[in-house]
Amino acid sequence: MWYEIFKFELKYRLQEPANYLFFLFLFCFAMFGVEFIFQGVELGLVKKNAPLVIAKTMAAITGLSMLIVSMLMGFSILRDFQYETVSLLYANPIPKSDFFFGRFLGSFVGLLFIFSGVLLGMMLGEHLPWIAPSEYLSFQLWNYVQAFIWVGLPILFFGAALFFVTGALTKNRMVVYTQGIVLFVLFLLTKAISNETLQAIFDPFSLTTLSLLSKDWSVVERNNLLIPYSGVMLLNKLFWISLGILVLAIGYRQFKMEPISEKGAKRKIKVSSIFKTPNATFFQTAQPMTLAFGWHATIVQLAFNTWFHAQAILKQTSFWAIAFCGLLIIIINSVNLGTAHGVDSYPTSYLIVEELQEMSIYFFIIILVFYTAEIMWKERTVGLHYIYDACPTNSLINLLGKFLGLLLIYIVLILTLIASGVLFQLLQGYYHFELLVYFGGFFLEIFPYLVLYTMLAIFFQALLQAKYLAVLAILIFFVLNLAMGLLGVEHLLLNFGGKALAPYSEMNGYGHFLIPFLWTKLYWFCFGLLCLVFAAIVNGGGLAQSLKKRWQQGIKELGKPVKIFSGFTFALFIAIGTYLFYNVNILNEYWTTRDKLTYRLAYETSLKKYESLPQPKITDVKLTVALFPSQRAYEIQGHYRLKNTSQIVITEIHLQKRIATHIKLDEVQFDRNVLPDRRFEKFHYTIYQLQEPLLPEDTMRLSFKQSYPPLGFENDNTDTDILYNGTFFDNDQLPSFGYERKYELKAAAERESFGLAPRASLALRTNPAALLQSRAGSDATGINLEMLISTEAPQRAISSGVLIKEWSDEERNYFHYKTEQKIIHFYSIVSAEYEQLTARHLPKGNAITDSVELTIDYHQSHDYNVDRMLQAMKNSLDYYSSNFSPYPYQQLRIMEFPRYRKFAQSFPNAIPYSESLGFILNIKATDKVDMVAFIVAHEVAHQWWGIQLEAAMVQGRKMILESLAQYSAMMVLQEYYGVAQVQQFLEMQAENYLEGKRRQVETELPLALVGNEEHIYYARGAIQLYALQESIGAAKVNVALQNFLHEWQSFNNPNQPERYATTQDLINHFRAVTPDSLQTVITDLFEKVVDD
């Protein structure tokens, strides 16, 4: 008997077209599974079809597809109730066990057929024509099959058992939808378990299990070992399989083959089973009434419909179950707020909003997709549609009511999220609630997407007239729309919904990003309205007919007002579209990624020949900068003094204007006659033939006017240099000389696709040309800088040098900066509305006359840590000036800039410091590393390492610049903040290093030869230099550094060598202070890679 039921179930499944769609979906998803699951993860040397990678991908896909499992298994028994076949079926003499297990097995085998799509899709994935063979091992069938059986199958079994049982016992459709999400929440909850082993055992998708068991695997092991049948994996699988069996057993016991649930039958009904005897005739007692169908009635209908649909959803337990699960996920994920190096930030509103946003979008998509399906099929599901269809209501009004009802639901959820966010802040003792930021974050950034996708979901439901097909369609559309960018369709007129809004910055708000964002949303909103109208037209008519008939009938029924409305909307859609096109393509230049790449390619192939052409060096820079932040514009008058430092007569000047739209370079004038050659105008590259050549050691002048008046908006509004509040750019903005390597194609894969060799890695320490450069294509060896900056009041403009004068005039503030000694050719221009903290400090190692003025310019509400920062500046200056060399400038400034960029950077006596990087860190606990102080100390250290002493463009350069800054900052930490903090910091560095090492693609080089690997020059650098200090003593290390500086510093150095410093020079100084017995330590620390 059970076999009959099994067979019938399987046959039923094979007939259901939706199952093939699910298969297809999983198959396609799995084909790109590895790319999708591992996006943004550096696999390094681990291959994309390594058993571990396959297993993780399968586990993740299965986990993400739990919704499919729940739909397939959950409806297995529920189906009989839906189609009302229960009474027929249950009246037969089928033993319960045969029925229950027959059904289960039939459904489960059907499920396995569908999920074999994952197996097959992944196998096909590695044979796709465009994959890079170097990223894959040779194909091994068993790697896939083993992962499917040992990792995927048990997950599916547990899911199948659980969903089958809950579906059978609750007999509630929404429970079936919801339970997939519940399991997902369960998964996230396991992440909160602090014991690693327990977490690995209880992870239903065994993702943490796989991570834990492979934690100590080497690359070779990762590429070769199959997933073991022992240890945590065995425990995990045993646990979940037994739990699955247990669930089935309980389900079997509880399940009754009864057509009516007792719960329903027990419900008490107040019965008045017959009509009252009429005591008067019908119409005599009836009240007078009017039927209205005008505007007022329409509005009442719309409002009431909206509320009716919304409250119907709000009354569902399942809705609150989803909402609760969603909140739980979001809140669990929000616990770690904006941490930097293990330190929590203050729970500022925008951080909370961002955390909430991150998870909630997925959760909203689920709600959106399912509830749209539910609401669109509402009348038909229960069988009320004939009654509705016979009502004299416009079908557009009905549809709009449903649409608005859904929006109301989103609003309820959003308000709940906002309330929980505020509650979270309250519990953290943070009382600066910015409700506007909350509203902006949700109602500007998320809500419009929900609106648009709801419109689209309604459209698909109406068009396809098949509930689950439409659900699938909208999900596929969602993915396709994301993928469109990758396929080269990037224009905001074609990318449904437009692009995301830039993050909110407390300094700059939404800045200039908001206006184009709103226009784009409006454009798509019109499109969505048209979708809705279309949906209303083809959704009417009740009985299923061909699309053409429904269309004709719908048009007839909706009549003129709808035609006028859609005509108007269409006109608006076209008008806004035209406006967007005008902005993006006419006022600005529209570049696809492909265009950009080919441009870079052309730049390199046309101009590379000039790379080593001798060009004069800038020795003096005089700028008059006028900033107009409210228009995001500037005008710069520039004067350069140039000197021929080479041995060769210079006859042409190659002037490279910054490549960007709307930047204009005019009035280029030399102090002699020139013949411009504009062959390379396409690359903003002009060659000026000097009528009178520039002899070696000779100087000349150049003046120019550069202006930037941006117009309209671009497709990718990504410029964060010039802002309403918080402008920050450096001399990169200004004209330079000769070929610029920065315009080359960078990524190896891109270069390869155009047939270019990878960019040369750093030169060897013996390369004579590279030793003469301190940065790529440097235009100067050292400059005098004088700058007059003006900006709109009340902003302050800040640069390097001494502020010799400041004044205001006609709503503008003027600042005159001048350096008193040569600085490296690296300066920034910053402008924002600031609060200012100033202090005077005499660094311990400075002469008594050389006190320093310290300034911190910060955004008004970001005063949490400024005192701490000031103290850190003082401490750093004290330590460095007394241990390395006196601080050479009279001022040291920190300026905050908006959080679009997340770093701090040292320029001569000026340190721009990102809003996100410490101004809001919550440093209360004394047992944690004071990261604010550390970052300040690190940047101040660069005033020595990088700004006074430059390193040659050879291997190991970053050790001199960054590792020494790390070491210096650690010494400040040790001196003023305690050894415990240093120890903790070292632990973090050790972790970072291992993490980086795991992702590293190339074989590791010793620290002294480091290239661009952060985990080596930051993390390992800190560790090794600290170890040196422990081994030979800080005093000796500092003496070595002092000598190193003395020998190699770029300025005030009468015996400055001809070239720049290398790690060889640094290590020589270390060796000079190290006793013979410890020389090997230096070799081990800096010149060897210890494989551990």
């Binding site: 329903g264 419900r267 009904i269 107040k270 019965v271 008045s272 089973s273 017959i274 009509f275 009252k276 005897t277 009429p278 005739t281 019908f282 119409f283 007692t285 009836a286 009240q287 007078p288 009434m289 009017t290 039927l291 209205a292 169908f293 007022h296 009635a297 009442v300 209908q301 009431f304 419909n305 009716f308 119907a312 009354k315 569902q316 509402k378 599901t381 229960v382 069988g383 009320l384 004939y386 009654i387 509705y388 269809d389 016979a390 009502c391 004299p392 209501t393 416009n394 009905n398 009740g542 009985l543 009938q553 007839k556 029924e557 009549g559």
Partner: protein, 290 residues
């Protein structure tokens, strides 16, 4: 008073089955019965009248309104109780009534409330108006169905097989209500039960295999059979023979023995006795002759 006039209404389904062929009817105010066996096309016709389906040909006119092109106008005057319908779980009777009332154009709150209260009292559901419809019995659900159909004081009320699932007492009350409505509106009732028509309808039509066999007053229909109907009690073994020799329109069992009614222009003798025709006989005679 407006009349509902159907002219040559036809409908063929996609699979080639002709559901309705050239239906022409003139229906005045009052309760009009549409009688026919299962599958005769009653529900299709009712759905077409309720503007839910489009016929392939023919016209339907309610007074000035062309029901096929002015659907919205017709719907404003329409009340419809489908043969089968479900209800939302968790929504109270009153909420659903408000919802439907608004859809039907009862935009003014006070009037709507009064109308709903009135109707619910009339169908005796007022006491349970706060309860969820899911908990209702079949009869209660049907009463909700008629109450919602009457919300807008329809000029045309269409009730499709409404008596299924009602017990005899309930059916009686239900008919009283319909008959009252019929005093002012056109009420079209479809059924396969002759007694329903007999109880209620002044006018009727018999629908069989998509065609109207006959229409008119039930009494006139019965009159047609006057003096042509004979009855005889026979043995089971003789059944086949009688069916061959006579036009048997009806056979029923009485104490286990068949009694047959035959149609005959003159007295068949042979133990037959003449009987008076009832509506069922007319109906069966029509169907037999078709």
């Amino acid at each position: 008073m407006e009349k509902l006039i159907l002219t040559k209404v036809s409908k063929t389904y996609g699979n080639g089955i002709a559901a309705l062929t050239n239906i022409s009817l003139k229906i005045p105010c009052g309760v009009f019965g549409l009688l026919g066996p299962n599958g005769a096309g009653k529900s299709t016709l009712m759905r077409i009248l309720a503007t839910l389906q489009e016929p392939d040909g023919g016209t339907i006119q309610l007074g000035e309104i062309n029901a096929l092109t002015q659907k919205l106008a017709l719907r404003k005057r329409l009340g419809y109780l489908p043969q089968q319908f479900g209800v939302y779980p968790k929504i109270s009777l009153e909420t659903l009534m408000h919802h439907l009332a608004i859809l039907k154009g009862l935009a003014k709150r006070k009037e709507r409330q009064a109308r709903i209260d009135f109707l619910l009292q009339r169908v005796n559901l007022y006491e349970v108006r706060q309860q969820s419809l899911a908990s209702f019995s079949g009869g209660m659900k049907q009463r909700f169905g008629i109450a919602q159909a009457l919300l807008n004081e329809p000029k045309l009320l269409i009730v499709d097989e409404p008596t299924a699932g009602l017990d005899p007492v309930e059916r009686n009350r239900f008919f009283n209500l319909l008959s009252e409505v019929g005093e002012r509106s056109i009420v079209i009732l479809s059924t396969h039960i002759v007694a329903d028509i007999q109880a209620l309808c002044a006018g009727m039509a018999i629908l069989y295999q998509g065609r109207v066999l006959v229409q008119g007053n039930p009494l006139a229909l019965m009159e047609k059979l006057k003096g042509q109907l004979y009855e005889k009690k026979i043995k089971k073994a003789e059944r086949e023979q009688y069916h061959l020799n006579y036009q048997v329109i009806h056979e029923r069992l009485f104490l286990g023995e068949p009694i047959i009614r035959v149609l005959s222009a003159e007295h068949p003798r042979n133990g037959f006795v003449p009987v008076a025709a009832n509506l069922a006989d007319s109906y069966l005679a029509q169907i037999n002759q078709a």
